[in-house]
Assembly symmetry: C2
Homo-oligomer: 198 residues x 2
């Protein structure tokens, strides 16, 4: 039983990815909503993200559907921790999703949209956007490279295998982005000097 999906008769059914992300994380051990948010932010934010405001309602739905169970832990003054654990049925759901073909979702890269409309602004404005995009990606690359190096040390447990693979994807994507920025910035510079001398 899939929880959140279209009930449209005859339509192709598409379930929320958030629920599978949750199920996948819980498959590695019980966690609270807050824990899940932290794990997403700290480990996989280079290719996935979730907001707390969405996580909580989806966790409740998963509970109602019997795909997870909930227990409580004292909060020491803070609100009680709600700790969720995956059930056998949840594991089956996860397993069948994991076997389904990957659904490619079309990207929306605002930096490229502004680039495409480059003819409608001064070249220097676009240049500034590309520079700040480059800086952001360079920052991200540095982090990903250091994480990848750590995960590649021989002492690292085999558990890190798949995380390392995703980090590697981030490294290669970030390098490609930087390479594009450098090319684009060079082209912009050429255009700007052309205009000045022409």
């Amino acid at each position: 039983m899939v929880v959140a999906r279209s009930r449209r008769a005859g339509g192709r059914e598409k379930a929320s990815r958030t629920q599978y992300a949750i199920l996948g994380l819980l498959a590695a051990g019980p966690r609270s909503g807050y824990d899940i948010k932290k794990e997403v932010a700290e480990r996989i934010s280079h290719f996935w993200n979730e907001s707390l405001g969405h996580l909580y309602p989806v966790l409740s739905r998963l509970l109602d559907a019997g795909l997870v169970t909930r227990t409580y832990e004292p909060g020491n003054g803070r609100p009680m921790r709600h700790v969720y654990a995956i059930t056998e049925e949840g594991r089956q759901q996860l397993d069948s999703w994991l076997r389904e073909p990957v659904v490619a979702t079309p990207p929306r890269l605002e930096i490229l949209l502004k680039t495409y409309f480059g003819a409608h602004i001064e070249p220097t404005v676009l240049t500034a956007h590309i520079e700040s995009y480059r800086a952001e990606r360079a920052r991200q690359l540095a982090i990903l490279e250091s994480v990848h190096a750590m995960l590649s040390e021989p002492a690292t447990s085999e558990d890190a295998r798949y995380l390392r693979m995703t980090v590697r994807a981030g490294v290669l994507a970030a390098r490609a982005a930087l390479a594009w920025c450098d090319e684009a910035l060079a082209e912009q510079r050429a255009l700007i000097t052309d205009q000045a001398s022409g």
Copy 2:
């Protein structure tokens, strides 16, 4: 005046990117909703997309807000073409959006999510996903490379400059994706033979 944005008092205001995409395309000349959809699908689908069901209502909103005008063209039996043109106010909106810093939207790459959960399925299943992802990206790369080659010919008009830059971004990103797939597939092969012999 920004059209589609939060009316929440005191909140940071964020407008729909669809409206700016439309404004940007109309800045190059009048088009119908159908034309816009085609242009998006044929030229910039490697980094942006729009659905007709969303385009039509946003065009109406833009019309109400005075950022575009509408004229009609006979449809020759088909429904009448509604042709939209950007107004001076629309150009100002576009210009100010073009100057705003680029908002980075966090990605959601399902292939990497499934990779991250690789420990919960047989390695061969993940391998198959990566292979089909690779095939898809290879197909895309071939198209982008041929488009890029065409746009790089000396005879090509200077109008193609920014389109060519975005295509180049697609080429580099696709190559990086292929490189990752090859590495990941090699790692998976090693794991599978390890398991068989161990």
